[in-house]
Subunit: 337 residues, 4 copies
């Protein structure tokens, strides 16, 4: 931690801060420059991080030296984590593609989609039983019934399933039916939900909040790891920007950035990032070229009748086409699908 | 709803869409222009809103005509709502100032702050018992013990209290001890939490998500009203932008915008918006000049020892100074404090 | 400047950096902490600022301690600058209101607006002769003819004029006819234009770029001062964010932030910030309450026929109403209009 | 153009608008719905676009149906434009890689870089002689001397050159020495500069403004085409967002979006987008996978001594490595390098 003093800071103010630092068991190193005095603090940065040093008289700014996360960092664990979901490995050489409808609507269409996804090369099935919808008037999901359908369709198609958990009260049912628990973008900072899945034995898919920095995202993952669950996969799904041509802006460079900072696998969701099915293919290829460990793609047999997100869902035939192209790009960067 | 067709849309595609619209019980009005055919749809727009019309072949874009919210709108209720919290009215001529520490830390300091806030002109006491913290290593709040302290301090100081609810499982305790339930920025789209407070008898303070448009914010309020609770106060607390000089960017124009669109009262939180106590006063005055119905301000007797948000907390003496200035501005715009 | 080394930095890498620092005539102070070694550099920070230290092997990050601007800073000049424009003082107790049409359209309507603006309490006349328009098909301004109209209308109404300079080749005509030269938001980083107005004797109104940080804005002002022109007034006109309810988002807290960092006066433009005439009044009052030294407002006698920005222009009657309200707020914060 | 009336719009207001529309030679189509009356206007949308219809009494909002650009659109020209720069084709099957230093610093190092870039597979040489620098104290470029060096180095290495034009007064020298004229991000809306290069015979590389939507970017290209120069290549170089881990955020989906909307070629600049040389390779591959027609990459033989942007420059050895990887990805998407 570096504490920069104001130009007009007094000796008394300097002493007050130095005393505080020492009282916390840390060692202050004072450098008096021409324009500013700075204090470098040696010792556990975490002890200082929770202190409101900016309010001490004479302080201009406080600059942390270390990242605030520990367990998710490469420094804590230098080799890449591979998360296993019902036999599917995420984080290894093979790129895992998760496909399925936005919402579970009924069993028959779900099974049909699941089988076609499997045939197209998907490794896992996705589908929402609990749906976070901006409007209270929109379809809110089938709830536990949807979980059962998912479980059954996954079983019949031979695909492990991932589904979103929105409410701490639903964790038992989601754990019962799902192979992986998804935390959605809008719940990335629902800290009690993070604690609960941290205590779960099931692997977790943690989507990035649409307006969260990479640092905040990794801190949210830290909540899960610190509670005991190290099987976390991150998912970049686009951030909110001023650009309106796409629903969100896929932050493709977040993929290599996260890979440097963390040992956790990272996948990409081009469906939510773009909001338009015609852009899903190009952006999926970009994410794979950039080094992602998997993809999450919305597929629907009849987008015109989808109860949610129809406009960003691929028809199975387009999913197959996308998979063929993605495979070539994966191979070009030394990966398989 | 307006459906704009692609330049190359065929008659068959047009018919397919028109048939869909009619099947839904709505009336299509076709205008064939020089460059585009557009279809205006007459009838309940909500019926179409949930249809993924963008995926119909030949469709270029779909433009809604109406706002997606109903109960929160001025069209539903043209006169302003006044929310009463333990005798304090929010939304009337008087500007309600809510003051208190970021977190409840212990009873004695809380009571001291409460009494000084009251003396300085605050109408309500704030304080967090459950704290949404970016880091799992930061102080997470005192929980139910904090609620009891708040209740007691509010009683002794003669101030109704507002505190944040983060978890659906805590609603009973929060309802028991608090006069008003706060939904924080990170939970603005925690829809199950919104449903729960919609079923509560206690008034709700709904903070704007840092990443949320005004439209989404009003849709979140709609979740509360549609579940039966019309006592909702909105709170602008700054949005995330590229500017780094402040913690967030206070969207001051959101105040007059919301007042046009909705009958709900709106207050402003200059402490979280700016993140720096030295900016709280000027931004508080701006919010009042712009028409807000109240302020929410962090006050701490010893910011150097605060367990959270010390750098944005006002000392009681600065709070008193701010209140004197705010009163003058309030008077200038025909309001009282 | 603080240089933070990577955890795995070698002694050789440390020596390489230390040698570089010494070679530049600066003094390195090494602090070896538990997790990182950091190097504090004492001496002229500017010497290091232009060095790409991040690329030196073993460097994790480089953190500047000082602001990159000098002449515009409060540290360089602690008392507030007052800029005089044809007798009108900007930066003193009196708030200067600049009013007029977006574009100069013809002499008669301009004169009419000028006279009504004067009557309503405006201190200066604005109007664009050269218009930066997003579309090549939109009205591009009357050019030098417009400058002449402005000059004449200002003279007849008794108001100094300000108008935008878009092109270095037009500086002579703008200098000839205008009392103050405006640099628009889209040219805030047109550095050659900044250099030219830096060499001018006329005062400059420097609008903030719609996506520029306060730091970059002050650096652009520095370009003008370093070329010899200290008569610079800053103008906050809204930044681009994700919110769509307003054209831009007025960053009202930029006003007190700039006042702390710089001695230059700052005014606000609620017309461009909001894009809607109905929001101009509330946001103007907010800016004044927050401490701005002036306002820039679009006024048009017939917005329905305006060739640009009609939807954000006030009718003269609404301008008068706004002025009455602004005066009250100004008085409440110890200012006049 | 669709005009949506307010719920309380009167018949008189409707008539006033309809009269205006008719007076402009357009045909209004009125649809009276349950909640709103809407007016669809048939005829040249451009005529209406410049009218401030939002200010007409009774109007709630105005929604354009067509894109505001014409010449750059796919509707105007459905087949892809191929721009030829000194024999190098941009927009065809082959991906054109432009490499070179940020600034031209001296002839010897430039020539060395040029030869190594050529050897690594670059098709063109880049380098700045006029540098737009945020700080007036930073290196501003060698000016015309730099242009001569570029010209000579390009000639000796066998590479056409591209360099930035910042000032309308420098167009003759830039035209004389360069094969392609670059308009930088900060000048994307310097409309007079756009007009000048529109009148030039040299092809233009138009970078996206960091603050500009895709629509605004295409409108800036329209300025060039409408003045007669159809040889325009677009360059995505990252937009400004709240994320701080990278210098800007590469908007990779802008590539497929632009390819749908426009016939112009589009390339990507991963150096400026990321600001970190270690991220240039992954993001370059992502851009190619997504369909870009070229890359622009900063290469420097000694980044530690670079006078600008050292931290984002590749060493020639890393450039060669990147090219090998990019070639594989290009092949995977049916392209060559």
């Amino acid at each position: 931690m570096i504490i920069v003093l104001r130009r007009d800071a007094t000796e008394k103010q300097l002493k007050h801060i130095v005393d505080k630092v020492k009282k916390l068991g840390l060692k202050p190193m004072i450098s008096k420059g021409i324009e500013r005095t700075i204090i470098g603090v040696i010792g556990e940065e975490d002890i200082l991080r929770v202190q409101p040093l900016e309010v001490f008289p004479g302080v201009e700014k406080v600059m942390p030296v270390l990242a605030p996360y520990k367990l998710v960092s490469r420094e804590f664990k230098s080799d890449k984590t591979i998360v296993s979901v019902g036999g599917v490995k995420i984080g290894g050489k093979k790129i895992a593609v998760i496909a399925g409808p936005c919402s579970v609507e009924n069993f028959d269409s779900l099974l049909k989609i699941a089988k076609q996804a499997k045939k197209g090369g998907a490794a896992m099935l996705r589908g929402g039983a609990f749906k976070p919808r901006t409007s209270p008037y929109a379809f809110q999901g089938l709830g536990e019934e949807g979980l059962k359908y998912l479980h059954q369709a996954g079983k019949e198609a031979g695909l492990p399933i991932v589904t979103e958990l929105m409410d701490v009260r639903d964790i038992d049912s989601v754990e019962k039916y799902a192979d992986m628990i998804q935390i959605g973008a809008r719940n990335m900072q629902n800290f009690n939900l993070l604690k609960e899945v941290g205590l779960s034995k099931k692997p977790v898919l943690l989507k990035r909040g649409m307006m969260s920095t990479i640092k905040e995202w990794l801190m949210s993952a830290e909540y899960i790891l610190v509670n005991g669950n190290f099987n976390v996969v991150l998912c970049e799904r686009g951030i909110r920007t001023f650009e309106e041509a796409t629903r969100f802006t896929m932050d493709v460079s977040a993929i290599p950035v996260v890979k440097r900072l963390s040992h956790l696998p990272i996948i990409a969701d081009p469906s939510h990032a773009t909001g338009k099915w015609g852009l899903v293919g190009p952006v999926a290829k970009a994410a794979v070229a950039c080094g992602c460990d998997g993809l999450m793609v919305e597929v629907h047999t009849n987008p015109e009748e989808a109860l949610s997100d129809g406009s960003q869902s691929l028809m199975p035939s387009n999913f197959v086409k996308m998979m063929q192209e993605v495979k070539k790009v994966a191979k070009a960067v030394g990966r398989d699908v």
